[in-house]
Amino acid sequence: MSNKVILTNISVYSLAHALVDATGAATLFAIVALGQGDPHNLFQLIIIYDVIAFSTQPVLGLLVDKFKVPAQAAALGMLLVAASTLLMQTPFLAIVVAGIGNAIFHVGGGVVSLNLAPGKATLPGIYVAPGALGLMIGTLIGKSGDFIAWPFILLLLGSAALILMIPRLEIAASRELPGNLRWFETVILLLLVSVAIRSIVGLSLVLPWKSDPVLLVALTLAVVLGKALGGILGDRFGWAAVAVSGLVISAPLLAFFAPIPAIAIAGIFLFNLSMPITLVCLAEMLPGKGGFAFGLTTLALILGALPTFTPLRTLTGQQIFVFASILVSVATLYVGLRLYKGHFCDRMPLRPYRTHSEEKE
């Protein structure tokens, strides 16, 4: 696949990702802002939207994998998200349509990003990263009460058309998974537990300074950069080295220094480095099932998020809980990556660097 095709695809899908997440968030918050403004309603809408958008992705991913239609799925998802902005008179229906559209887009785009450079975390990281930026922009627009649907609809329709027009990727042929299948479920389970724990921590952190718009933008950029650079650095320096060290350093920063914006923002950046690495490792465990792998990570995210929607949040927000959770996440991720490297890896170099003399040999 030529670099031009890769660059075109990743640029279009990344921007579309930000747009889809922005529209979903704007619709969600605008429903309340333009209506009663009851914060309880917003909380419930968020739960319904999140559960639908995240939990349905494994099944939708399987369908995308089976029919090999990631671009069409992404375009359909964008159309559904656009349609949801016209259904705000019926909030429940609008949220359901937006959630399903969001899920279909994410698995479609996820499959494309995973297949642009199979076995590499760089491009999936770049695809996933702008979502946080879209969420922030959409949330601000929705809350402002100035949400107007048609610009979003036009942008979504234009992006959907672009996705269908750009050169399609060649879906990599499903390769055999090398190695001892005895550890198959263990590796997948460890990676998913790591994702779920990170979800609990991410949603439990109390960052009171987020109300400052400048700091909110800085925080969002830290998430975006963390996810984007996590893949690049992981491919360069080794997945385990980047993901595990990032999480280890982030643990004390997030657990004990969350009230200090500069330290917490650095912690959030490091915390997000592991995201694309976990995703790609899982996709490598399931060759030819990129959509399913992508969906499994979002299922783990929503399972991890569920306790934070309940009164248990008072527990999960405790400093010691955050610290211990991140360390457990580190342990599961480290063991998962080691087992993957030892038993299944046929692409990841055992040592990311080769000395000059080794290369000569």
């Binding site: 333009l34 419930q44 055999e176 399931l286």
Partner: protein
């Protein structure tokens, strides 16, 4: 005026916290029938159960798909 099912769901939203039912009657046309509180409670619990059920069902499907993938690969070997 007859209230459709989706309209009704648009009006009713569930709360995770117990004993709290919140109305979401946003920009909806006024209805001349107020649903009885038991119906509201039932629908609220129904939506909550549906969401939890959705997550559980998808998790089970994912589990069985993973087992099938492993079995398929083991057979090939």
């Amino acid at each position: 005026m007859k209230t459709g099912f989706l309209q009704l769901l648009g009006v009713i939203l569930i709360s995770v916290l117990p004993a709290r039912i919140v109305s979401l009657d946003i920009a909806l046309p006024p209805t001349d029938v107020v649903p009885p509180s038991t119906l509201l409670l039932g629908l609220s619990l129904g939506v909550l159960a549906a969401l939890c059920g959705l997550v559980v069902v998808v998790a089970l499907v994912a589990f069985f798909v993973l087992r099938a993938i492993k079995k398929n690969r083991a057979t090939k070997e």
